[in-house]
Symmetry: C2
Subunit: 404 residues, 2 copies
């Protein structure tokens, strides 16, 4: 069987008209002799609406019931898609996770799919059926509904592709592919035809809202090619695949950035073993994600300046936690809420020397001051004043030949 | 185990504030040492909202998918109630029909509950849990969600009371009980403390919107006492029970009425065997409910006048069907869209002669003309001009000593 998994995100099923539109996309694959497995998210806005109901009852609304509530959004959209296809004369059927079943492990709201029972779906595919499967959810060992985290329908699609050995997995969404940078910041942004899992992972976690990093990681581990396409425009998208499938001479594949970072500098921290752990432990415990960290060791003074960045929304919480932390002492806190992180990404930089130098000198030529630097194997990030953001993206996009 | 089944209708769970309110009612029964099984409808308005989504796709939206969509409304309300109770420190859990399971038979959207597996719920009750169970739904032999018709949460509650041998079943709703007549038409309406299943059946099908007739019938067959109470006011409600539990000397228990009837009279119908069937067959096939029927046989003329009533909303459809019906001939149609049906109900009339006479003479004294008469064992209905409706209800309410 030549199987394709098609995943539709919330915006792709956000209205009845859009559902009618995607039913045409599904029929298109049938005509190409594919056996089609459809995975759908909830209609856009629904998940938030349901989550808000629970918040009105309690800030600590129990996760087991929260998951049961959120899971209904996909049940509705899947039945609407199935009903639409049946109405057009096709053999379709909605499948809730418990009917398949899709088995999860882990905590509620953050579960992972561990097994998919193929029997029922295979039987349905064999008689020419189009199964429309609820994304974002499964059932756990207690026979209760468990969700796999926001955006988790991508993960559902990848796991279905894995278990059913699908030829490919197509993620239909409201963007038409992966771009070298955000087209909203520069019209020079170009669509990327193929990108490696690793590069896409760095792009995603840095703010390219195409796919959840978890799902890309799942696809990478299972060697599943993912095509990201627009459900509104019938044009080629981007394919996320293994490195050796990438045919490009470009060292750098994209320039990503964040807009809402905040920089903390603790000046004159008493330096002793474990001080960094003492600073970050309460932040970790309060689910505050610390991103870039720089420490200037000044051994002769037994003091150090420690700089780190967090998301803007965690500013107040972080400031309180630092100030009431009795395990550290420092002279003062400097907070800069007007910074942005700009990153260049590309597997090519592993084997190419001088990328760092080219990046820094390109920024220097435009008088852009670098506040913090952070590097990984395939990514270099710098923190800059937010007023320099567009200028920095533009110059790096040009420097690494992404403009054309 | 002393078990009580509490059913909450859509208006009782129509907002977060209302859900918090009913959680207090539930806790009240726990304090009285009851094991509590809760059944909930969807939040008011939700079911219609979901149904409207399907209508936008197709007027013939497939019933299997329609049921899957509608069933999500109860899943949300049950999880909200469970979450609210857990948040207050109680051991609660939502149960979807498939988790129990509740088994149905029959067509989608009109299924009936045939079996409830008690094991999981009993286990949960024994460890002190409060199961919050989705009303209105079950799963069928194909392991798919099937609903039991609008208002079906009442039926779910009755069947749960039956299978778990509950001491009683309390229907919480937005009315505070069953009244001798609609309090909106006369301030003399009094709340009825106990009413028999049979009387309630006649009251319900005549427009007293307290409970679905199907559910009352189920309760009657299984001898389950039903208490109808307000979820907003903490006052005694009405109990629906077997005849022998009714302690009252009143022959007539209530005066019910309809507001939106339409009377059709076919004048000069050619009288031959089967003519009535020929008239009503197309109406039946088009789901038009014919209520009262009167035929004046005039054998010497081989002609007859036939009068019947339907709901106002079916007026145009009925007129068209009659006019295009080639199997009948008649001289003219007279349509009166300004009529109402008034009924007196009471099991006492079976053994008491003269009730009919008292009814007719009471109406005559107020110069209210009777257009059509229809009787059953425990009910007498008359059709009157709608302008006489209030006057008719008032005089009958007084005549049969319901005013005090």
């Amino acid at each position: 069987m030549k199987i394709v998994v098609l995943k539709f995100g919330g915006s792709s099923v956000g209205s009845i008209k859009k559902i009618q539109n995607i039913s045409k996309i599904i029929i298109g694959y049938l005509k190409k002799k594919y056996k089609v497995i459809v995975v759908s998210s909830a209609m856009s806005g629904e998940t938030n609406k349901l989550a808000n109901l629970t918040k009105k009852i309690s800030k600590n609304f129990p996760a087991s019931e929260y998951d049961s509530i959120l899971a209904t959004g996909e049940q509705v959209s899947c039945s609407l898609i199935a009903g639409c296809l049946i109405d057009k004369g096709y053999k379709a059927r909605s499948w809730s996770a418990w009917q398949i079943p899709i088995l999860t492990s882990g905590n509620y709201s953050h579960s992972r799919i561990v097994k998919i029972n193929k029997k029922n779906i295979l039987k349905f595919l064999k008689i020419g059926g189009i199964p429309i499967i609820t994304g974002f959810q499964g059932i756990n060992s207690e026979n209760r509904v468990a969700t796999i985290g926001r955006g988790g329908s991508d993960a559902s699609a990848i796991m279905l592709a894995k278990f059913f050995k699908a030829e490919k997995c197509v993620i239909y969404t409201d963007v038409d592919g992966v771009y070298t940078t955000d087209p909203n910041i520069t019209t020079n942004a170009k669509k990327i035809k193929t990108i490696s899992y690793e590069e896409m992972l760095e792009m995603a976690s840095l703010g390219a809202k195409v796919m959840q990093p978890h799902s890309i990681q799942d696809a990478r581990l299972n060697r599943i090619d993912i095509e990201v396409k627009s459900s509104f425009k019938n044009i080629a998208g981007s394919t996320i695949t293994k490195r050796k499938n990438i045919l490009t001479k470009n060292i750098i594949r994209g320039v990503s950035f964040t807009k809402n970072d905040t920089k903390f500098t603790l000046v004159g921290v008493k330096d002793r073993p474990g001080v960094a752990a003492s600073i970050f432990e309460p932040l970790y415990k309060n689910a505050i994600n610390v991103d870039m960290v720089v420490q200037n060791i000044s051994s002769y003074k037994k003091e150090t300046d420690l700089t780190f960045t967090i998301k803007h929304e965690d500013l107040n919480k972080t400031e309180k936690l630092i100030k009431k932390n009795k395990n550290i002492s420092f002279k003062k806190i400097i907070i800069d809420d007007k910074v942005s992180k700009v990153s260049i990404i590309g597997v090519g930089m592993i084997t190419t020397p001088g990328v760092t130098f080219r990046m820094f000198s390109a920024l220097a030529k435009k008088n852009i001051n670098i506040l913090v630097i952070s590097t990984s194997e395939i990514k270099i990030s710098v923190l800059v004043d937010r007023k320099n953001l567009k200028k920095a993206v533009d110059v790096l996009h040009k420097e690494f030949k992404l403009d054309y």
